[in-house]
């Protein structure tokens, strides 16, 4: 997200600014907090900007005039006026509206007048200014005029605001705000956008104890602020004390006329309008007649006190101690290196031209305007990739599917199947120039019909994404015993069903995906540094995409700024960076923008599920039948195509359900590919089971907790094989449920449930969860240096989990040496032979056990060395508190570091066997590879098509 090029002028005076504005296509730059984002999004590209920030006359905050008013200059920021306090004393309604703007940082730069002029939908300041009858002063080359603020918004359909700025050289210089004591501004904030879903400014003027004048102005409900004359009229002649805090019925506008947007429907926004108008009137009334009415604020429930049971910990063990993380200091100082922080000499920058359509044939790609631009080094399309030695199709691992799933081409092969799919790659000297180049590439599309919804994609008339997959079905799979489940339903006393939509999610690590690729021609070898959850996974996949052996790809992941699944997958960016690095023989960096991260995926979930539960009338569960249609997006990505088909393995959760059958169809749609996101299949399954149990509880009239409790797998049933073929080794669920209920004061909350006086509903719900994790092998290496200090390596990679601390704790306990003597290294494909990575809550189980096992191997080998020195049998050597000793040689003890030195041939007096190369003894990489039992990954299943 970079602004386009423009000229920049910074005048010293208002006159100079007006003169500069007279040029064509010039915009005023004040705070720039609306203009710069608009320019980055290419919603505005003025040729020049006139920065008014240096004009001292525009920084004035003045109360010296003859009128009782506050004058605020056009360069005054929200933070300036809030700190000044003039409005807090003289126009609290306006002060409150300014305090509601954005956030601290935005208020540092955003200007009051700029906000008034920009008037985004849901902006706060315009509504309060209209209610206050504020006046705006505008100057141009011909003179000065003053307009009431409400005239700025006379044409609500005009998206080019403000309507009153008519001349090219008009400069709004200041706003004059009359003193308004009897007013208030309240808003309901959208938690993500920060804008008001609804904001209400109410101003009341009393005369002789009754209201003589009222202004009620709403923001958010229409494109621009809107007065509510019906409400205003009803307030006239009323005593403020007669205006309680209650919902105010508003007939104009009607709910249907209120603006709907993707965040909120019109009727809901109207309901907010009525509620907030009542509250704002109450506060304003209180200010004109203090003490009569109080704004009813919902008494907040006291936060539950944290009296969770402290687990007794073993004071002699480092694991479990609440240590400060050793990783944190670098992060806190901003010194830890993330991939985007890397610099390489002669580095060029890569960006993509992405599809503007969800589904289209590409008729032509014309790069000529890009190729000729300054700084642009190359523009690549699929034809360039196809002519190279590399396949350039991201590999698929289908996990047992019996057919070929089309892989994702790094650049589109004459067809795009989702909005945002990479079509061309542009490499330039810097990222700004790369973006300029990408914008100059012209793509001609022939648009085809898109299909976004997986159920619709199964319809007879749905467009097919691939000619050889006319039904759009990638894979079907079934888990469980269909006949047993059918029987359970045939004999069921009660059957309930539910249709669920588990919506699509976008993984949003704060660090976008990023890669830096270097190619060494002398060794035909790539080094790719990238934000990765799995360096070995990326090594394998990059090697396939590039068509080179894995030994030719070295993958390094520096610090990773969050993963949530999507940094475990292979995407076009890192492949294109590596390919271009070889092509241009230069380091290539690629950094996704936030919106590229959103558009390209991989996204998570997106299931449509129909579930039925068969029960006895006493609530005993007999069978669960589930049919799921899973959206796979436009391409298979890694193991994504098979993932959805395996999710049924957790449907039994912690319940003894004798028969379960789950059938799944994974379906292509013209959307970004779907892959694992936070939990990857487990939350999807738990959601189904828990929701259908709630439906059953309602139908049977059984308390939902009691129904769950009655069906828990009893503690004496373990090991327990579920009806979907997964064996649980142990469990005792009832006490866990009891503790959860106690922790949330379930009984008390349940009694508070129901409808409240203000019409809002309150309820309490509980969901149980069984986790399946720890799959796949993992590598842990413990290397002891000659001085006894220890380096631990693992195939996992922390992206916030703190393995550097955790693994050191585990190894400290095994080796009984100081925690400080242990260093942990991850994220380099050459430090350990292989690894699986960090995802699905697996690292401490897999990597943790692997490093512990390696530490045990180290100890075993060290014991042999100590035995040689002590002249005893290895079985007689004891180890404790960092020392080796033998009862038969009471006066001799060997420290851990002495033995480490001996392993390298140091300090030896011929007692160690010459054949023991020290390094080999203690370097236990192979010994530390920890293989996990994969039998439970998905249960007994079959795949067919």
């Amino acid at each position: 997200m970079f602004p386009p090029q423009f000229e920049y002028v910074q005048p010293d005076s208002i006159d100079q600014a007006i003169a500069a504005l007279a040029s064509d296509d010039t915009r005023v730059l004040a705070g720039g907090h609306s203009l710069l984002p608009a320019m980055k999004a290419r919603n505005a590209s003025p040729e020049s900007l006139v920065d008014i920030g240096d004009i001292s006359a525009l920084h004035r905050i003045d109360r010296d005039g003859p009128e009782n008013e506050t004058v605020i200059g056009a360069a005054v920021t929200d933070a300036d006026i809030l700190a000044d306090g003039s409005l807090k004393r003289n126009a609290p309604m306006v002060h409150e509206a300014i305090a509601a703007v954005g956030d601290r940082q935005i208020r540092s730069r955003g200007t009051v007048v700029g906000n008034l002029l920009q008037a985004d939908a849901g902006a706060d300041i315009p509504a309060a200014m209209v209610a206050a009858d504020a006046m705006l002063t505008i100057r141009n080359g011909e003179g000065e005029r003053t307009v009431p603020v409400d005239e700025l918004y006379e044409d609500p359909d005009n998206d080019h605001h403000p309507a009153a700025i008519t001349n090219g050289d008009d400069l709004a210089t200041e706003v004059r705000i009359p003193d308004v004591t009897g007013g208030a501004y309240l808003r309901k904030t959208h938690p993500a956008t920060g804008y008001a879903l609804v904001g209400i400014a109410v101003r009341l003027v009393t005369d002789g104890g009754t209201i003589a004048k009222a202004r009620v102005v709403a923001t958010g409900i229409e494109r621009t602020p809107r007065r509510l004359p019906g409400v205003e009229e009803r307030l006239i002649d009323k005593a403020p004390s007669s205006l309680p805090d209650q919902t105010v019925r508003i007939a104009d506008p009607e709910p249907a006329a209120v603006r709907a947007d993707p965040n909120v429907s019109g009727p809901y926004r109207h309901q907010l309008l009525e509620s907030y108008t009542g509250q704002a009137i109450a506060v304003a009334s209180d200010r004109v007649a203090p003490g009569v009415v109080r704004m009813s604020s919902e008494s907040r429930e006291a936060a539950p006190t944290d009296d969770s049971v402290e687990e007794a910990s073993d004071p002699t063990r480092v694991a479990g101690m609440p240590l400060k993380r050793r990783e944190d200091e670098g992060f806190l100082r901003g010194e830890t290196t993330f991939t985007d922080d890397l610099k390489r000499p002669n580095c060029a920058h890569l960006t993509f031209v992405r599809s503007e359509h969800a589904h289209a044939a590409i008729e032509d790609i014309d790069p000529k305007d890009a190729v000729g631009r300054d700084g642009v080094l190359a523009v690549y399309t699929w034809n360039d990739l196809a002519a190279s030695s590399s396949p350039c199709v991201l590999p698929i691992s289908t996990g047992g599917l019996e057919h070929d799933v089309p892989g994702h081409p790094v650049l589109a092969q004459n067809r795009v199947r989702y909005h945002g799919q990479p079509i061309a790659a542009v490499v330039a000297e810097d990222p700004y120039l790369a973006r300029d180049g990408a914008e100059a590439v012209e793509v001609t599309y022939k648009v085809r019909e898109p299909v976004i919804d997986a159920v619709e994609a199964l319809g007879p008339d749905a467009p097919a994404l691939y000619e050889d997959t006319p039904d759009n079905v990638i894979a079907t799979a079934a888990v469980g015993d269909e006949r047993a489940t059918t029987r359970a339903f045939e004999h069921a006393e009660v059957v309930v069903d539910i249709s669920l939509r588990n919506n699509r999610l976008i993984p949003s690590a704060l660090e976008p995906r990023v890669a830096m690729a270097v190619y060494d021609a002398s060794r035909d070898r790539f080094t790719v540094e990238l934000a990765s959850q799995s360096v070995h996974g990326h090594r394998s996949k990059l090697a396939k995409t590039l068509g080179v052996p894995e030994r030719s790809v070295h993958v390094v992941a520096p610090a990773v700024g969050g993963g949530f699944g999507h940094k475990g997958h292979h995407h076009p960016g890192e492949a294109m960076a590596a390919w271009s690095a070889r092509e241009l023989d230069r380091p290539i960096k690629w950094t996704a923008t936030r919106s590229e991260n959103y558009r390209e995926g991989a996204h998570g979930r997106d299931h449509h599920t129909d579930a039925e539960l068969a029960l006895d009338s006493d609530g005993t569960m007999r069978g669960l039948r589930v049919k799921t249609i899973a959206n796979a997006g436009a391409y298979g990505l890694g193991g994504s195509a098979g993932m959805a088909t395996r999710y049924g393995g957790l449907l039994s959760s912690e319940y003894a359900i004798p028969a379960i059958h789950c059938s799944t169809r994974a379906v292509f749609t013209t959307t970004a590919p779907i892959h694992s996101y936070r939990g990857a299949g487990r939350p999807e399954a738990i959601y189904v089971t828990e929701r259908v149990i709630d439906v059953a509880a309602r139908k049977l009239g059984i308390d939902p907790i009691s129904l769950r409790r009655a069906n828990l797998i009893p503690p004496d049933a373990f090991p327990y094989e579920t009806a979907v073929g997964v064996t649980y080794d142990s469990g005792d669920y009832a006490p866990a449920l009891d503790r959860a209920l106690e922790a949330i004061d379930y009984e008390e909350r349940r009694e508070l449930g129901g409808e409240r006086s203000d019409g809002r509903l309150r309820g309490v719900g509980v969901a149980c969860y069984t986790e399946s994790t720890g799959g796949g092998h993992e590598t842990g290496v413990v290397r002891v240096h000659p001085d006894g200090s220890v380096a631990v390596y693992a195939g996992t990679h922390s992206h916030g989990q703190g393995h550097g601390t955790t693994y050191a704790q585990l190894v400290a306990d095994e080796l009984e040496i100081p925690y400080e003597d242990i260093d942990v290294n991850e994220g380099d494909s050459e430090e350990v032979p292989t690894g699986t990575g960090t995802f699905g809550s697996r690292s401490t189980i897999g990597g943790g056990n692997a490093v512990v096992q390696s530490a045990q191997t180290v100890l075993k080998k060290a014991r042999t060395l100590a035995a040689n020195r002590l002249g005893v049998d290895p079985n007689d050597v004891r180890y404790g508190s960092g020392e080796f000793f033998a009862p038969s040689v009471p006066d001799q003890r060997l420290s851990f570091s002495e033995v480490a030195g001996m392993a390298y041939g140091w300090g030896g007096s011929g007692t160690h066997r010459a054949g023991l190369g020290g390094h080999d003894v203690l370097r236990t990489g192979g010994d530390g590879v920890h293989f996990r039992d994969p039998r439970n990954r998905g249960g007994d299943r079959s795949h067919n098509r």
Partner: protein, 160 residues
């Protein structure tokens, strides 16, 4: 397009850079001046990972042009403490107010401004005042704990 030579004081050192008008302050710092403490999370003013202080005020450096910052003084998380961690940084560490660490330099800088201007804050106020900084890992609970702890430390230091 024209270029401009700008001079900034960054973490106490005077620095110059030649930039286009469109070059964002965050890129001036990261690319031209090698100060990668401010991070780029969204480039659209939403996430706050690029927060720095500009003449004592917290700003999202992806929404400020380098040319607008000419002549100003910038403080980043890298310049907050020379030796020991700043009490705010120490409090984040103590309370485990960070996980992946990507949002952390920005959060620390917003907290600095918050605690410079306010001495007593409720937990709700802390959450509201830090809403310009997004953290995807912590769920904010420990961030709030860290700010409360830092406020207490700074209060004690002030009264000492």
């Amino acid at each position: 397009m024209s270029t401009h030579e700008i001079t900034l004081t960054v973490d106490g050192s005077e620095r110059t850079a030649t930039v286009e008008p469109r070059t964002l302050l965050v890129h001036v710092l990261r690319e031209h001046l090698d100060n990668t403490a401010p991070k780029v999370g969204c480039e659209s003013g939403k996430c706050g990972a690029c927060t720095v202080q500009l003449d004592g005020e917290p700003v999202k450096s992806c929404l400020v042009l380098g040319v607008q910052a000419d002549g100003t003084s910038i403080l980043t998380a890298a310049g907050l403490a020379d030796g020991d961690l700043h009490p705010i940084q120490e409090a984040f560490r103590e309370e485990h107010g960070l996980q992946c660490g990507y949002c952390t330099p920005g959060l620390v800088m917003s907290t600095l401004d918050l605690l410079e201007k306010h001495q007593e804050l409720s937990r709700e106020e802390i959450r509201a005042e830090l809403k310009g900084n997004i953290c995807r890992c912590t769920g904010y609970q420990n961030v709030v704990e860290a700010v409360e702890t830092a406020a207490k430390t700074l209060d004690t230091e002030r009264s000492d």
